[in-house]
Symmetry: C2
Subunit: 233 residues, 2 copies
DNA sequence: GGCACCTCAATTGCATACACTTCACGTCAT
DNA sequence: ATGACGTGAAGTGTATGCAATTGAGGTGCC
Protein backbone atom coordinates (compact mmCIF):
# COMPACT_ATOMS: atom_id res chain seq x y z
CA UNK A 1 0.00 0.00 0.00
CA UNK A 2 0.92 3.68 -0.17
CA UNK A 3 2.78 2.84 -3.35
CA UNK A 4 2.33 6.29 -4.85
CA UNK A 5 5.73 7.56 -5.94
CA UNK A 6 5.00 11.03 -4.60
CA UNK A 7 8.15 13.10 -4.24
CA UNK A 8 7.19 14.07 -0.70
CA UNK A 9 6.60 10.60 0.59
CA UNK A 10 9.82 10.02 2.46
CA UNK A 11 8.55 6.90 4.18
CA UNK A 12 7.68 5.35 0.86
CA UNK A 13 11.06 6.19 -0.56
CA UNK A 14 12.90 4.60 2.31
CA UNK A 15 10.67 1.59 2.03
CA UNK A 16 11.43 1.19 -1.64
CA UNK A 17 15.14 1.57 -1.05
CA UNK A 18 15.18 -0.95 1.76
CA UNK A 19 12.92 -3.35 -0.09
CA UNK A 20 15.29 -3.33 -3.00
CA UNK A 21 18.31 -3.70 -0.78
CA UNK A 22 16.67 -6.66 0.89
CA UNK A 23 15.59 -8.50 -2.21
CA UNK A 24 18.93 -7.94 -3.87
CA UNK A 25 20.50 -9.38 -0.76
CA UNK A 26 22.54 -6.32 -0.03
CA UNK A 27 20.80 -6.64 3.29
CA UNK A 28 20.76 -10.29 4.19
CA UNK A 29 18.25 -11.99 6.45
CA UNK A 30 19.16 -11.19 10.02
CA UNK A 31 20.74 -7.85 9.17
CA UNK A 32 20.06 -5.27 11.83
CA UNK A 33 18.18 -2.10 11.01
CA UNK A 34 18.55 0.43 13.83
CA UNK A 35 16.24 3.37 13.50
CA UNK A 36 18.99 5.90 14.17
CA UNK A 37 21.35 4.64 11.51
CA UNK A 38 18.55 4.36 8.99
CA UNK A 39 17.41 7.89 9.69
CA UNK A 40 20.93 9.20 9.48
CA UNK A 41 21.58 7.35 6.24
CA UNK A 42 18.49 8.69 4.56
CA UNK A 43 18.64 12.13 6.10
CA UNK A 44 15.45 11.90 8.11
CA UNK A 45 14.56 11.55 11.73
CA UNK A 46 14.02 8.35 13.59
CA UNK A 47 10.30 8.95 13.34
CA UNK A 48 10.33 8.41 9.60
CA UNK A 49 12.72 5.51 9.70
CA UNK A 50 10.49 3.91 12.28
CA UNK A 51 7.45 4.33 10.08
CA UNK A 52 9.25 2.75 7.18
CA UNK A 53 10.23 -0.19 9.32
CA UNK A 54 6.64 -0.57 10.43
CA UNK A 55 5.54 -0.67 6.84
CA UNK A 56 8.12 -3.23 5.86
CA UNK A 57 7.17 -5.28 8.88
CA UNK A 58 3.58 -5.32 7.72
CA UNK A 59 4.87 -6.62 4.40
CA UNK A 60 6.73 -9.39 6.17
CA UNK A 61 10.17 -8.27 5.09
CA UNK A 62 11.31 -6.97 8.45
CA UNK A 63 10.85 -8.34 11.90
CA UNK A 64 10.00 -5.91 14.66
CA UNK A 65 10.69 -7.05 18.21
CA UNK A 66 9.73 -4.88 21.12
CA UNK A 67 12.64 -2.90 22.49
CA UNK A 68 15.00 -4.67 20.11
CA UNK A 69 16.62 -3.65 16.92
CA UNK A 70 14.57 -4.48 13.84
CA UNK A 71 16.06 -7.11 11.56
CA UNK A 72 15.51 -8.38 8.06
CA UNK A 73 13.33 -11.45 8.43
CA UNK A 74 14.79 -14.91 8.18
CA UNK A 75 11.95 -16.98 6.75
CA UNK A 76 11.69 -20.46 8.13
CA UNK A 77 11.47 -23.37 5.77
CA UNK A 78 7.86 -23.83 6.77
CA UNK A 79 7.13 -20.19 6.08
CA UNK A 80 8.64 -20.69 2.68
CA UNK A 81 6.35 -23.62 1.96
CA UNK A 82 3.30 -21.69 3.07
CA UNK A 83 4.19 -18.68 1.05
CA UNK A 84 4.72 -20.71 -2.09
CA UNK A 85 1.37 -22.42 -1.61
CA UNK A 86 -0.39 -19.10 -1.41
CA UNK A 87 1.58 -17.73 -4.28
CA UNK A 88 0.51 -20.54 -6.55
CA UNK A 89 -3.14 -19.87 -5.84
CA UNK A 90 -2.81 -16.16 -6.43
CA UNK A 91 -0.85 -16.50 -9.62
CA UNK A 92 -3.39 -18.98 -10.92
CA UNK A 93 -5.98 -16.33 -10.33
CA UNK A 94 -3.91 -13.77 -12.16
CA UNK A 95 -3.46 -16.02 -15.15
CA UNK A 96 -7.16 -16.73 -15.24
CA UNK A 97 -7.97 -13.06 -15.16
CA UNK A 98 -5.43 -12.18 -17.81
CA UNK A 99 -5.58 -14.96 -20.37
CA UNK A 100 -6.71 -13.63 -23.71
CA UNK A 101 -7.38 -10.19 -22.34
CA UNK A 102 -4.00 -8.56 -22.65
CA UNK A 103 -3.76 -5.65 -25.03
CA UNK A 104 -0.87 -5.55 -27.50
CA UNK A 105 0.77 -2.73 -25.58
CA UNK A 106 0.74 -4.86 -22.46
CA UNK A 107 2.22 -7.82 -24.27
CA UNK A 108 4.93 -5.52 -25.50
CA UNK A 109 5.57 -4.28 -22.01
CA UNK A 110 5.97 -7.84 -20.77
CA UNK A 111 8.31 -8.75 -23.58
CA UNK A 112 10.37 -5.68 -22.84
CA UNK A 113 10.70 -6.80 -19.30
CA UNK A 114 11.80 -10.26 -20.31
CA UNK A 115 14.32 -8.68 -22.61
CA UNK A 116 15.68 -6.77 -19.64
CA UNK A 117 15.87 -10.02 -17.76
CA UNK A 118 17.88 -11.56 -20.57
CA UNK A 119 20.19 -8.60 -20.62
CA UNK A 120 20.79 -8.78 -16.88
CA UNK A 121 21.38 -12.49 -17.15
CA UNK A 122 25.14 -12.14 -17.13
CA UNK A 123 25.22 -9.53 -14.39
CA UNK A 124 24.93 -10.08 -10.67
CA UNK A 125 22.47 -12.85 -9.88
CA UNK A 126 20.75 -10.72 -7.27
CA UNK A 127 19.60 -8.41 -10.04
CA UNK A 128 18.35 -11.31 -12.14
CA UNK A 129 16.34 -12.58 -9.23
CA UNK A 130 14.86 -9.17 -8.61
CA UNK A 131 13.88 -8.81 -12.25
CA UNK A 132 12.34 -12.25 -12.31
CA UNK A 133 10.32 -11.31 -9.26
CA UNK A 134 9.26 -8.05 -10.81
CA UNK A 135 8.02 -9.87 -13.87
CA UNK A 136 5.37 -11.50 -11.76
CA UNK A 137 4.49 -8.21 -10.14
CA UNK A 138 4.17 -6.59 -13.53
CA UNK A 139 1.83 -9.37 -14.54
CA UNK A 140 -0.22 -8.84 -11.40
CA UNK A 141 -0.44 -5.14 -12.02
CA UNK A 142 -2.15 -5.82 -15.33
CA UNK A 143 -5.15 -7.27 -13.56
CA UNK A 144 -6.04 -3.77 -12.36
CA UNK A 145 -6.77 -5.27 -8.99
CA UNK A 146 -4.88 -3.24 -6.40
CA UNK A 147 -5.43 -5.86 -3.74
CA UNK A 148 -4.08 -8.61 -5.90
CA UNK A 149 -1.09 -6.50 -6.81
CA UNK A 150 -0.36 -5.84 -3.20
CA UNK A 151 -0.55 -9.43 -2.09
CA UNK A 152 1.39 -10.78 -5.01
CA UNK A 153 4.06 -8.15 -4.55
CA UNK A 154 4.45 -8.96 -0.93
CA UNK A 155 4.52 -12.65 -1.51
CA UNK A 156 6.83 -12.46 -4.46
CA UNK A 157 9.29 -10.37 -2.51
CA UNK A 158 9.17 -12.82 0.33
CA UNK A 159 9.71 -15.70 -2.06
CA UNK A 160 12.67 -13.80 -3.37
CA UNK A 161 14.04 -13.49 0.11
CA UNK A 162 13.42 -17.14 0.79
CA UNK A 163 15.15 -18.19 -2.36
CA UNK A 164 18.17 -16.17 -1.41
CA UNK A 165 18.28 -18.15 1.81
CA UNK A 166 17.65 -21.65 0.60
CA UNK A 167 18.51 -21.89 -3.05
CA UNK A 168 21.69 -23.02 -4.64
CA UNK A 169 24.06 -20.16 -5.41
CA UNK A 170 23.93 -20.24 -9.20
CA UNK A 171 20.19 -20.32 -9.75
CA UNK A 172 20.23 -17.18 -11.82
CA UNK A 173 18.74 -18.92 -14.86
CA UNK A 174 15.36 -18.26 -13.29
CA UNK A 175 13.31 -19.60 -16.12
CA UNK A 176 13.35 -16.67 -18.48
CA UNK A 177 12.15 -18.90 -21.26
CA UNK A 178 9.29 -19.95 -19.04
CA UNK A 179 8.29 -16.35 -18.70
CA UNK A 180 8.16 -16.09 -22.46
CA UNK A 181 6.08 -19.22 -22.75
CA UNK A 182 3.62 -17.83 -20.23
CA UNK A 183 3.31 -14.59 -22.14
CA UNK A 184 2.58 -16.51 -25.31
CA UNK A 185 -0.06 -18.66 -23.68
CA UNK A 186 -1.69 -15.58 -22.21
CA UNK A 187 -1.67 -13.88 -25.57
CA UNK A 188 -3.31 -16.88 -27.19
CA UNK A 189 -5.98 -16.85 -24.53
CA UNK A 190 -5.13 -20.42 -23.65
CA UNK A 191 -6.15 -20.35 -19.99
CA UNK A 192 -5.41 -23.96 -19.23
CA UNK A 193 -2.00 -23.93 -20.81
CA UNK A 194 -1.09 -20.67 -19.14
CA UNK A 195 -2.13 -21.96 -15.76
CA UNK A 196 -0.19 -25.15 -16.27
CA UNK A 197 2.88 -23.25 -17.34
CA UNK A 198 2.67 -20.89 -14.42
CA UNK A 199 2.19 -23.74 -12.02
CA UNK A 200 5.17 -25.57 -13.43
CA UNK A 201 7.23 -22.43 -13.40
CA UNK A 202 6.51 -21.72 -9.76
CA UNK A 203 6.98 -25.36 -8.86
CA UNK A 204 10.34 -25.24 -10.51
CA UNK A 205 11.31 -22.20 -8.52
CA UNK A 206 9.96 -23.62 -5.29
CA UNK A 207 11.87 -26.82 -5.71
CA UNK A 208 15.08 -24.94 -5.36
CA UNK A 209 14.24 -24.36 -1.74
CA UNK A 210 15.94 -27.48 -0.53
CA UNK A 211 19.42 -26.55 0.57
CA UNK A 212 20.89 -25.33 3.85
CA UNK A 213 20.50 -21.74 4.93
CA UNK A 214 23.44 -19.39 4.94
CA UNK A 215 24.16 -17.66 8.25
CA UNK A 216 23.59 -13.94 8.39
CA UNK A 217 26.71 -11.90 8.39
CA UNK A 218 26.97 -8.36 9.62
CA UNK A 219 28.26 -5.78 7.21
CA UNK A 220 28.20 -2.12 7.95
CA UNK A 221 24.80 -0.68 7.30
CA UNK A 222 26.08 2.58 5.92
CA UNK A 223 28.26 0.89 3.33
CA UNK A 224 25.60 -1.51 2.28
CA UNK A 225 22.95 1.14 1.79
CA UNK A 226 25.14 3.56 -0.11
CA UNK A 227 23.96 2.59 -3.61
CA UNK A 228 20.31 2.55 -2.53
CA UNK A 229 20.19 5.92 -0.83
CA UNK A 230 20.90 7.76 -4.07
CA UNK A 231 17.47 7.80 -5.57
CA UNK A 232 15.78 9.08 -2.43
CA UNK A 233 16.44 12.72 -3.10
CA UNK B 1 0.67 -8.79 11.77
CA UNK B 2 1.87 -7.90 15.26
CA UNK B 3 -1.15 -9.76 16.53
CA UNK B 4 0.46 -10.64 19.85
CA UNK B 5 -1.94 -9.61 22.59
CA UNK B 6 0.87 -8.25 24.74
CA UNK B 7 -0.40 -5.95 27.46
CA UNK B 8 2.18 -3.36 26.56
CA UNK B 9 1.38 -3.13 22.89
CA UNK B 10 -0.75 -0.03 22.87
CA UNK B 11 -0.72 0.26 19.12
CA UNK B 12 -2.02 -3.25 18.76
CA UNK B 13 -4.77 -2.60 21.25
CA UNK B 14 -5.95 0.49 19.47
CA UNK B 15 -5.85 -1.38 16.20
CA UNK B 16 -7.98 -4.16 17.57
CA UNK B 17 -10.47 -1.71 19.01
CA UNK B 18 -10.73 0.25 15.80
CA UNK B 19 -10.88 -2.86 13.68
CA UNK B 20 -13.78 -4.11 15.69
CA UNK B 21 -15.50 -0.77 15.60
CA UNK B 22 -15.12 -0.71 11.86
CA UNK B 23 -16.35 -4.19 11.12
CA UNK B 24 -19.28 -3.78 13.48
CA UNK B 25 -20.10 -0.62 11.58
CA UNK B 26 -19.88 1.57 14.62
CA UNK B 27 -17.46 3.43 12.41
CA UNK B 28 -18.94 3.53 8.95
CA UNK B 29 -17.01 3.88 5.73
CA UNK B 30 -16.01 7.49 5.34
CA UNK B 31 -15.86 8.15 9.06
CA UNK B 32 -13.04 10.52 9.97
CA UNK B 33 -10.29 9.39 12.30
CA UNK B 34 -8.26 12.39 13.49
CA UNK B 35 -5.09 11.46 15.30
CA UNK B 36 -5.74 13.80 18.20
CA UNK B 37 -9.20 12.53 19.00
CA UNK B 38 -8.06 8.96 18.71
CA UNK B 39 -5.15 9.56 21.03
CA UNK B 40 -7.31 11.39 23.50
CA UNK B 41 -9.93 8.68 23.39
CA UNK B 42 -7.46 5.92 24.08
CA UNK B 43 -5.29 7.86 26.46
CA UNK B 44 -2.17 7.91 24.33
CA UNK B 45 -0.31 10.48 22.31
CA UNK B 46 -0.81 11.23 18.69
CA UNK B 47 2.30 9.23 17.93
CA UNK B 48 0.63 6.00 18.93
CA UNK B 49 -2.66 6.80 17.29
CA UNK B 50 -0.76 7.57 14.14
CA UNK B 51 1.01 4.26 14.21
CA UNK B 52 -2.26 2.45 14.67
CA UNK B 53 -3.72 4.26 11.69
CA UNK B 54 -0.70 3.30 9.64
CA UNK B 55 -1.20 -0.30 10.54
CA UNK B 56 -4.88 -0.26 9.69
CA UNK B 57 -4.07 1.45 6.44
CA UNK B 58 -1.70 -1.37 5.55
CA UNK B 59 -4.59 -3.72 6.22
CA UNK B 60 -6.78 -1.78 3.87
CA UNK B 61 -9.32 -0.74 6.48
CA UNK B 62 -8.30 2.88 6.68
CA UNK B 63 -7.37 5.35 4.01
CA UNK B 64 -4.46 7.66 4.71
CA UNK B 65 -4.27 10.81 2.62
CA UNK B 66 -1.35 13.15 2.98
CA UNK B 67 -2.15 16.15 5.16
CA UNK B 68 -5.72 15.03 5.43
CA UNK B 69 -7.67 13.33 8.14
CA UNK B 70 -7.63 9.55 7.89
CA UNK B 71 -10.95 7.93 7.07
CA UNK B 72 -12.44 4.48 7.14
CA UNK B 73 -12.15 3.14 3.62
CA UNK B 74 -15.13 3.05 1.31
CA UNK B 75 -14.50 0.02 -0.88
CA UNK B 76 -15.57 0.42 -4.46
CA UNK B 77 -17.74 -2.18 -6.05
CA UNK B 78 -14.81 -3.28 -8.17
CA UNK B 79 -12.64 -3.61 -5.09
CA UNK B 80 -15.31 -5.78 -3.60
CA UNK B 81 -15.30 -8.07 -6.61
CA UNK B 82 -11.53 -8.38 -6.55
CA UNK B 83 -11.44 -9.08 -2.86
CA UNK B 84 -14.04 -11.80 -3.14
CA UNK B 85 -12.13 -13.41 -5.99
CA UNK B 86 -9.00 -13.57 -3.92
CA UNK B 87 -10.87 -14.72 -0.89
CA UNK B 88 -12.30 -17.67 -2.75
CA UNK B 89 -8.87 -18.82 -3.79
CA UNK B 90 -7.45 -18.50 -0.32
CA UNK B 91 -10.32 -20.23 1.39
CA UNK B 92 -10.08 -23.06 -1.10
CA UNK B 93 -6.49 -23.43 -0.05
CA UNK B 94 -7.46 -23.45 3.59
CA UNK B 95 -10.05 -26.12 3.07
CA UNK B 96 -7.57 -28.23 1.14
CA UNK B 97 -5.04 -27.93 3.90
CA UNK B 98 -7.51 -28.69 6.65
CA UNK B 99 -9.77 -31.43 5.29
CA UNK B 100 -9.40 -34.57 7.33
CA UNK B 101 -6.62 -33.13 9.42
CA UNK B 102 -8.54 -31.36 12.16
CA UNK B 103 -8.10 -32.72 15.64
CA UNK B 104 -11.19 -33.29 17.77
CA UNK B 105 -10.33 -30.35 19.96
CA UNK B 106 -10.25 -28.12 16.92
CA UNK B 107 -13.58 -29.40 15.69
CA UNK B 108 -14.97 -28.65 19.12
CA UNK B 109 -13.56 -25.17 18.98
CA UNK B 110 -15.23 -24.56 15.64
CA UNK B 111 -18.54 -25.89 16.86
CA UNK B 112 -18.30 -23.67 19.90
CA UNK B 113 -17.85 -20.72 17.65
CA UNK B 114 -20.84 -21.63 15.54
CA UNK B 115 -22.84 -22.00 18.73
CA UNK B 116 -21.83 -18.46 19.63
CA UNK B 117 -22.97 -17.38 16.19
CA UNK B 118 -26.34 -18.98 16.77
CA UNK B 119 -26.63 -17.31 20.12
CA UNK B 120 -25.84 -13.90 18.68
CA UNK B 121 -28.30 -14.50 15.88
CA UNK B 122 -31.05 -12.50 17.53
CA UNK B 123 -28.78 -9.68 18.67
CA UNK B 124 -27.49 -6.80 16.59
CA UNK B 125 -26.71 -7.89 13.07
CA UNK B 126 -23.32 -6.21 13.17
CA UNK B 127 -22.24 -8.70 15.81
CA UNK B 128 -23.51 -11.62 13.76
CA UNK B 129 -21.55 -10.43 10.80
CA UNK B 130 -18.42 -10.05 12.87
CA UNK B 131 -18.79 -13.54 14.28
CA UNK B 132 -19.38 -15.00 10.85
CA UNK B 133 -16.21 -13.30 9.68
CA UNK B 134 -14.28 -14.56 12.65
CA UNK B 135 -15.36 -18.09 11.91
CA UNK B 136 -13.36 -17.97 8.72
CA UNK B 137 -10.41 -16.46 10.51
CA UNK B 138 -10.56 -19.19 13.12
CA UNK B 139 -10.53 -21.72 10.34
CA UNK B 140 -7.53 -20.05 8.77
CA UNK B 141 -5.67 -20.00 12.06
CA UNK B 142 -5.89 -23.78 12.18
CA UNK B 143 -3.67 -24.11 9.16
CA UNK B 144 -0.75 -22.93 11.29
CA UNK B 145 0.29 -20.74 8.42
CA UNK B 146 0.80 -17.23 9.76
CA UNK B 147 0.85 -15.76 6.30
CA UNK B 148 -2.40 -17.36 5.35
CA UNK B 149 -3.97 -16.22 8.59
CA UNK B 150 -2.89 -12.70 7.96
CA UNK B 151 -4.18 -12.50 4.41
CA UNK B 152 -7.45 -14.19 5.16
CA UNK B 153 -8.00 -11.98 8.18
CA UNK B 154 -7.39 -8.87 6.18
CA UNK B 155 -9.55 -9.98 3.34
CA UNK B 156 -12.32 -11.24 5.52
CA UNK B 157 -12.46 -7.97 7.39
CA UNK B 158 -12.58 -6.09 4.16
CA UNK B 159 -15.34 -8.32 2.87
CA UNK B 160 -17.17 -7.57 6.06
CA UNK B 161 -16.79 -3.89 5.43
CA UNK B 162 -17.91 -4.29 1.86
CA UNK B 163 -20.97 -6.23 2.84
CA UNK B 164 -21.94 -3.54 5.26
CA UNK B 165 -21.84 -1.12 2.36
CA UNK B 166 -23.58 -3.08 -0.33
CA UNK B 167 -25.71 -5.75 1.21
CA UNK B 168 -29.34 -5.68 2.11
CA UNK B 169 -30.00 -4.62 5.68
CA UNK B 170 -31.34 -7.89 7.07
CA UNK B 171 -28.66 -10.27 5.90
CA UNK B 172 -27.88 -11.46 9.39
CA UNK B 173 -28.72 -15.08 8.56
CA UNK B 174 -25.19 -15.37 7.30
CA UNK B 175 -25.28 -19.02 6.57
CA UNK B 176 -24.67 -20.46 10.00
CA UNK B 177 -25.89 -23.81 8.78
CA UNK B 178 -23.39 -23.59 5.97
CA UNK B 179 -20.64 -23.18 8.50
CA UNK B 180 -21.78 -26.36 10.19
CA UNK B 181 -21.86 -28.23 6.90
CA UNK B 182 -18.34 -27.11 6.17
CA UNK B 183 -17.11 -28.29 9.54
CA UNK B 184 -18.68 -31.68 8.93
CA UNK B 185 -17.14 -32.03 5.51
CA UNK B 186 -13.76 -31.07 6.91
CA UNK B 187 -14.11 -33.58 9.70
CA UNK B 188 -14.97 -36.33 7.22
CA UNK B 189 -11.92 -35.45 5.20
CA UNK B 190 -14.09 -34.91 2.16
CA UNK B 191 -11.94 -32.35 0.38
CA UNK B 192 -14.09 -31.96 -2.69
CA UNK B 193 -17.30 -31.55 -0.78
CA UNK B 194 -15.72 -29.10 1.64
CA UNK B 195 -14.34 -27.03 -1.21
CA UNK B 196 -17.68 -27.04 -2.97
CA UNK B 197 -19.49 -26.02 0.18
CA UNK B 198 -17.03 -23.27 0.92
CA UNK B 199 -17.25 -22.00 -2.62
CA UNK B 200 -21.02 -21.98 -2.50
CA UNK B 201 -21.01 -20.34 0.88
CA UNK B 202 -18.76 -17.53 -0.24
CA UNK B 203 -20.64 -17.19 -3.49
CA UNK B 204 -23.83 -16.83 -1.51
CA UNK B 205 -22.29 -14.12 0.61
CA UNK B 206 -20.76 -12.35 -2.37
CA UNK B 207 -24.06 -12.30 -4.21
CA UNK B 208 -25.47 -10.04 -1.60
CA UNK B 209 -23.16 -7.33 -2.86
CA UNK B 210 -25.60 -6.02 -5.41
CA UNK B 211 -27.41 -3.11 -3.87
CA UNK B 212 -26.70 0.61 -3.74
CA UNK B 213 -24.20 1.96 -1.22
CA UNK B 214 -25.37 3.96 1.79
CA UNK B 215 -23.83 7.41 2.23
CA UNK B 216 -21.48 7.86 5.14
CA UNK B 217 -22.89 9.82 7.99
CA UNK B 218 -20.83 11.59 10.62
CA UNK B 219 -21.45 10.65 14.21
CA UNK B 220 -19.27 11.91 17.02
CA UNK B 221 -16.10 9.86 17.27
CA UNK B 222 -15.95 9.94 21.04
CA UNK B 223 -19.45 8.58 21.43
CA UNK B 224 -18.98 5.91 18.84
CA UNK B 225 -15.75 4.60 20.31
CA UNK B 226 -16.91 4.52 23.90
CA UNK B 227 -17.79 0.82 24.05
CA UNK B 228 -14.59 -0.13 22.25
CA UNK B 229 -12.14 1.80 24.39
CA UNK B 230 -12.97 -0.26 27.47
CA UNK B 231 -10.81 -3.27 26.83
CA UNK B 232 -7.70 -1.28 26.10
CA UNK B 233 -6.62 -0.98 29.70
C1' DG C 1 -28.37 35.03 -4.29
C1' DG C 2 -24.06 33.25 -5.86
C1' DC C 3 -19.15 32.98 -6.43
C1' DA C 4 -14.23 34.06 -5.70
C1' DC C 5 -11.18 35.02 -2.22
C1' DC C 6 -9.19 35.46 2.32
C1' DT C 7 -8.31 34.15 6.97
C1' DC C 8 -7.69 31.28 10.78
C1' DA C 9 -8.59 27.20 13.52
C1' DA C 10 -7.88 22.38 13.03
C1' DT C 11 -4.90 18.95 11.70
C1' DT C 12 -1.04 16.59 9.94
C1' DG C 13 4.38 16.11 8.97
C1' DC C 14 8.39 15.77 11.13
C1' DA C 15 11.98 16.34 14.61
C1' DT C 16 13.45 16.12 19.14
C1' DA C 17 13.54 15.06 24.18
C1' DC C 18 13.48 11.84 27.79
C1' DA C 19 12.46 7.49 30.21
C1' DC C 20 12.99 2.79 30.02
C1' DT C 21 14.90 -1.60 28.18
C1' DT C 22 18.39 -4.37 26.32
C1' DC C 23 22.84 -5.96 25.52
C1' DA C 24 27.83 -6.12 25.54
C1' DC C 25 31.58 -5.83 28.27
C1' DG C 26 34.29 -5.75 32.23
C1' DT C 27 34.71 -7.13 37.13
C1' DC C 28 34.92 -10.20 40.65
C1' DA C 29 34.33 -14.43 43.14
C1' DT C 30 35.04 -19.17 42.59
C1' DA D 1 39.57 -20.13 33.19
C1' DT D 2 34.72 -19.59 34.13
C1' DG D 3 30.44 -17.99 35.32
C1' DA D 4 27.44 -14.58 37.94
C1' DC D 5 26.78 -9.93 38.27
C1' DG D 6 26.81 -5.05 37.64
C1' DT D 7 27.25 -1.05 34.78
C1' DG D 8 27.07 2.00 30.92
C1' DA D 9 26.34 2.74 26.09
C1' DA D 10 23.08 1.92 22.51
C1' DG D 11 18.53 1.62 21.15
C1' DT D 12 13.61 1.68 21.43
C1' DG D 13 8.81 3.60 23.32
C1' DT D 14 6.30 7.56 23.82
C1' DA D 15 5.13 12.42 24.36
C1' DT D 16 5.51 16.92 22.85
C1' DG D 17 6.68 21.05 20.11
C1' DC D 18 6.74 23.64 15.93
C1' DA D 19 6.16 24.39 11.00
C1' DA D 20 3.33 23.46 7.03
C1' DT D 21 -1.00 22.25 5.02
C1' DT D 22 -5.89 22.02 4.70
C1' DG D 23 -10.58 23.38 4.54
C1' DA D 24 -14.58 25.70 6.70
C1' DG D 25 -16.60 29.86 7.33
C1' DG D 26 -16.83 34.63 6.66
C1' DT D 27 -16.39 38.73 3.57
C1' DG D 28 -16.90 41.36 -0.29
C1' DC D 29 -17.86 41.76 -5.14
C1' DC D 30 -20.74 40.81 -8.92
Amino acid sequence: MSETPSPKDKVGMICRALRRAIIEQALEPGAKLPEDSLGERFGVSRTIARHALGQLASEGLVELRRNRIAVVVTPSWQDARDIFDIRMELERLIVRKLAGKLKPVQIARLKDHVAAEQQAHDGPSAVSIRLATEFHILLASMTNSPVLVRYVSEIAYRCCLTLSLFSRPHSSECGISEHIAIIDALQDGNVEKAMTLMHAHLGEVANRALVEPSPARGRDLVDVLAPYAEETH
